[in-house]
Amino acid sequence: MTNFECPPECFSFRDPAGGAVRIGNGFFRRITAAGWEDWRKFNDSGLAKSLVADGLLLPFDKAEKQPSGDWLAPVETLDFISYSHEWAFGQFRDAALLTLELLLRALEYGMTLKDASSCNVQRHRGRTVFMDHGSFTVYHEGEVWAGYRQFVAHFLGPLLLMAWGDRRHQLQLRNFPDGLPLDYVAGALPRRSLFSLQALVHIYGHAWFQHRLQDTADLRAPEIRPLPRKRFQTLLLSLRDFLSGLKSPSESGEWSDYYDHTSYSEASFLDKQRIVRELCRELALRRVVDLGANTGVFSRIAAETAGVVIAADVDFPAVDRLYGQLQNMGGGERIFPLQQDLCCPSPGLGVLNRERLPFLERARADLALGLALVHHLAIGCNWPLELVGALFAELAPAAVVEFVPKSDTQVKRLLRTRPDIFPEYGRDGLLAAFGRYYRRVRVFPIAGSEREIFLFDERIA
């Protein structure tokens, strides 16, 4: 052990022109002397104003010079930060399209993007917004795009694998925070991708060029052919058209009836909604985390009163469907759909494990919702009930938990292929386990069902 104190966040440090910093509760864009000319052009050209006006860029205020010599511009605070390995397919595609849109707009103003990281894009008030104000730099006619490799590794490659290969390839972005290596993407794509001109050029051809030029003893910079602006724009437009038509299997309807089966009656389901709605109103919450949110029925109810609702589910199609519904039907300004396996939640990643913060740290809320979840953790994943209580207590000072008894068909289904090694699992066991973390409990039976909803609060410090 050393006495070195790890900084709380180190998410923005690579660019000498500046980065994002947190001071107190506020976020700022720091601009160094190296980035000042780009920042000035970004603002004076009218590009920044037009992007903010169109809702594409996170709003920010004028930069003020600091005693250190740097400039600081306050930016609007994001309600929740998420990473690309957690996103719904639609959110991932929207982030890629936004990056291309911003680059096309920047070119009109004589600027370009110096990078294309997925970390530059976040969900904010129901929209996909660009948050890296320092990415814009002056464009010189004929220059190639420095962010091209990053765009393919962060966006195009993962999206192709998710759409044409296996949806779970997305989780590899945990292992490759700077995007999936092209040889990995090329090797994992199905053969039919060879018939796509986009895949052929941007993935296979690109991977071949990388391989050919990486192992050279020549230390001189490689001779690069210029890329005229018009052709660059054509390249970006073709990528935009292609990506806007790319769909995941869950979006194309293969999973359309996946979540239409429940084990209780419509009346019980409505009563459960009533209970949750009344509790959320009574508690007057600012922030809720819905664990096992499924397609977000109860996340929407929580969002009627709460300011922020993090809707996490392990199932990719469920998360994809929730995002799609929020985009198509609206009402999702406060909801953040997120793929998250509670048995292995997103860890701290990157430099010092602090470049990307763990899910359990980011998702802390005033209330944790766990509806039809505990039996999956306790019986499906062998969690002792005390660990389930610890998870909720880690996340929130209050918890709304649905208890599903062993007589319920959903629990019977979990036990049909295995011996019942869960004598602790039951109403009393759950109350005792959560009682270790919360002082108070209130019970709400669900009408027409053996299920009950427990409200635990007064968390024990």
């Binding site: 690579r14 110096k114 795009w145 420095a146 990053q150 052919r225 018009k230 437009l237």
Partner: protein
């Protein structure tokens, strides 16, 4: 459209003879990724050109507008 592309390419090429460009960036763009971009752009410019011809031929046989997509 074709005339536009040829015109723009000529202007850009002539411009490049007089104005040096700089691919400096804080991240390493990668030699292979830099090298393939001009080729990729040429491929998709040609693809767009042929798509437009196809759309134009199609438009002769049916009414309505056509959408350019790759």
């Amino acid at each position: 459209m074709k005339r536009n592309i040829i015109g723009s390419a000529t202007v850009a090429t002539v411009g490049l003879l007089f104005f040096p460009w700089d691919a400096w960036a804080y991240l390493d763009p990668g030699a292979g990724s830099m090298a393939i971009q001009a080729l990729a752009a040429a491929v998709f410019t040609v693809a767009v050109f042929f798509r437009q011809i196809r759309n134009w031929v199609c438009s002769l046989f049916r009414k309505g507008s056509h959408h350019d997509k790759l």
